[in-house]
Amino acid sequence: MDVSAPIEGVAETSSAMMEALVVRARNGDREAFGELVAEQYDFIFRTAFKWCGSREDAEDVAQDVCIKLPRILSGFEGRSAFQSWLYRVVLNAVRDMQRQRGRHNKRNRPMDDETLAVAAPEPENADDEELWIAVRQLPARQCDSVLLVYAEQKSHAEAAAILGCSEGTVSYHLHEARKALRTLLTSETS
C-alpha cells in the first residue's frame, strides 16, 4: 500500500523547475506564481475538460482553480509530486462545480442531446463518445479511477497517490466501474 511512489509522466527537468517555481510562489514571489499558473493552465483546463466533457464547464473549473491556488498553495508540502497534487485540486473543483449546479446525480439523469453534442467535439467514433459519457456518469471515485488509469494512462500506484487512497482501492473502483459500465452501456443500446 505504498503510495509515496513518484509520479512520472512529467520530464525530470521540467518537473524540478516546476517544484522550484512552486517554492518561490509559495514564498510570495509574484512573478513565479504568474509563471506557474500560466504554465499549468493548459493542464488544468485539459484535465477539467476530460472530467466535465464541456468547454464551458472546464473553463469555469480552471478559473476557479486559478483563483484558489494562491490560498491553497501553501498547503502543498512537497510530499507528493506537484502534478499529482494539482490533479487532486482540479478533481475536487470539478466535483464542487457539479454539486453546485445540482448536476451531481448524473446516474439518474437522462442523457440529453446537448450533453452529447458538447461532450466530445472531436469524436473519433461514436462508440468512444458513448463510453466517455458513460464513464463521466459513474460515481465520483470510479470515474476518477477510470479516467486516471485509462484516459490519463497512469499506473494504479500513480492514480492511488493522486486520489489519496491505496492501490487496492483503485483496483476496486476499476472493478466496480466495469460492472457499472456494463449496465450503463447495455441499457443505452437497448
Binding site: 506564481f33 504568474g34 493552465y41 485539459r46 494562491p70
Partner: protein, 687 residues
Amino acid sequence: MSNDRFDNLKNLRAPEPDAAAKARALEQAMAAFDTEQATKASDTTQGLRDRDRPMGIFNQIQGWFKMDARIPVAATLSALLILPLGVMLMQSSSFTPPRQAVVPLNAPQPVPQTGGRSEVEEADGALAQNEAPMLLADEAESDFNLAPPPGEVVRDQMGQVAASPEVQAMDAPAETRTRETSETLTAAPSPEPMPMVKMEGYSDDQIAMPAEGGGDRFAEFDDAAVKVVADEPVSTFSIDVDTASYTYMRRALSEGRLPDPASIRVEELINYFDYEYAVPNDPNEPFATDIQVMPSPWDEGKQVIRIGLQGYEPAPADREPVNLVFLIDTSGSMDAPDKLPLLKSAFRLLVDQLDADDTISIVTYAGSAGTVLEPTPASERREILGALDRLSAGGSTAGAAGIEAAYQWAEEGEREGVTSRVILATDGDFNVGLSSPDALTELISDKREAGIFLSVLGFGTGNLNDAVMQALAQNGNGTAHYIDNYREAQRVLVDEVGATLMPIASDVKVQVEFNPAEVAEYRLIGYETRALNREDFNNDRVDAGDVGAGLSVTALYEITPVGSDSVLTDPLRYGDAEEQGTVNANEGELGFFKLRYKLPSESDSALYTQAITDDLAVDTISEADIDARFALAVAAFGQKLRHTVSADTVSFAEIRDLALGARGEDPAGYRSEFLSLIDLAESLVGE
C-alpha cells in the same frame, strides 16, 4: 466491458484552451494572489485562531463519557478480580441475590482526556470552516473572518494528497461550523434501555429464586447511542471475534432461562456464524471486505450498512508450529460433568489436531500440583492423553504459581517460527493472584508483548466470570470462547482450530467516517465494549482485537439518511445551510471505511480503505445477500434479549421470518439451531 474498450479512453482529447478564457483566469489568479499576500501580512490580528475558540461545556462533558480502552482495561480488571470475592462471600453467607452484588463495571469513567481529544477535533472543525471551495478566496475570508493560519488552510482542500494516507488525511473534515452548539443534541437520542413488561417478570424470578447460572458474572455496559453525524462523524472500534456470548446465550435458552441481558454482546452473536464473504488470497493483505447497504427491515426511514471482513486462511500445512500450554483450572468448583470432563474431551480433540512439530504442556492451578506435563511433542499422544485423564478436581487454589509455571513453559518452548500460546480453561473462579491483581494483568500484557498469546475457554455455569475471561483474553491477544457442550468444543478446537492457533493479523481496528451530506445519524450495533477513541485508530500502541486464520468479522451500522423521517434530532437553526452544498464530501458516498491491522510479527500497522459508495446499496431487503439478512436477524435477536430499545419494535416472529429466509444451505446446522433458539426465547418471554 473488456479492457480493450477502456483502452479507447486514451483517445480522449481535450481541445485547446481558449486564449481569452485563459487570460481572464490568469488575471484573476494574480488578483487572488495579491489578496492572499495581503491577508497573510495581517494574519496575526485576524479572527480567532482555532485553538482559541471558545469551547462549549458540553464538549467537555461528552469527552468524559468517551470510553478510553487504554485506561479501563487495567482498572476494570482489578475491579473484576476483587469482585468475585465479594460475590462469594455473599453467596456463602446468605441467599443474598447475586444480582445485587453485580456492580456495573463499565460505568462511565470520568477520564479527563478532553484536552487531547478536543484539540484534534477542533482542528478538524477548523478545516470545515474553510470548506468553501467555490467562494472566491477573499470572499471566503471576509465572510467567515475565521481564517486559520495558512499552514492549516491548505489541508481542507488537498490534505488528501499533500499528506500521506497514513495520516488521517482521508478524514475529510465533514464537521460543521457550529460544533459546539450541536454537541448538546447528542445526549438526547441516547436510548435508555426500556425493559418490556414481561422481561421484568423474568428478572424478578431470577432474583427471587436464583436459577442455575445465577452466579455468573457479566460486566454491564450501555447500548451504543445514536450518534449525530454532524457532531461525531467518525466511529472507531476494535474488532471482536469472540463467540462466548453466543454460546452462553444458547446454553441459557436451552436450559429454559433467558440469559442475563448483560451477557449479550450483539457482535459476538453475529460473529458466531460463518458468512460466505469473498476470500482474500494474499497473506500480506489478509482481509477482503464485503460491504452492503440495505434498507432496515424494521424502520422504513433507516438503512443498514453491513461491513463484512473475511480473514485470509492459510493452508493447514502452512501453519507454523505451536507451543501450547494448557493452563487448567482444577479447583473444587470444576467438579461437574460440564466442566472438567468436558474440558478433558475438548483438549483431547485439540491434541488430535496437532502434529510432531507442536509441543504441549499441561499446568494446573489448583491443589498442590503445578506442572502436570512438561513440554511434550504432540505426537506423544498417549503420554499427553494420560496426563489429561489423571486430572481431577479438588483442593484449594494455588493460582499464581500455576500461571507463572504456564508462562515459564511457554517461554521455554519459544523457538524461531513457533507461536507460543497459553490456553486457560476455567469456570471463571478466578481467585488466583488476588493478592496482586494488577500484577496478573501486567504479566499477561508483558507476555503478549514478548509474543506469548493467551486464549481463554470458559466452562460451566453458576460461577462463570465472563468479564474476567474477556479481560484476560483481550490482554493476551487471544479469544474468549465459552464451551457449553462437546459440539462447541469440536467447533472451536477442530473446525476452527486454525483460527484458534494461527493469528493472521493483530490490533485490528475499524474506523468509519460518515458523510454528513448523506447520513444524518448512525448507530453501531454491538461492539459497545470495544469502542475506541478516534485518535486511537492511528496509534499503533493502542491494543485491539486479533483475528485468527479464516475468521470473518461482521459489523452492522444502522444509519438514518439525511432527509429521512426517522431522523431523531432536529436540524440546527444556526446550522450550515449554505455550506451543505460545498462540503468537501464525495457525492454518492455514505461514508469511508478504514481498516488497520498489524501482520503477525510486525509492529507497524497497515491501512486499508474503501469508500462506502451508494452503488453498494440495494433497494429492498430481499435483494440483500443472505448473509446480510441473517446477520440482521441475529442482531435484532440480540438486541431484543438485551432490551435495546430500538429492537423492541421487532417481534420474534419477524426475526424468525428474516432468519428463515436467509438460512441458506447451512451445512453445519448452526443457522437452523439459531431458529430454534428464537422459538425458545419467544416462549420464555411469552410474547
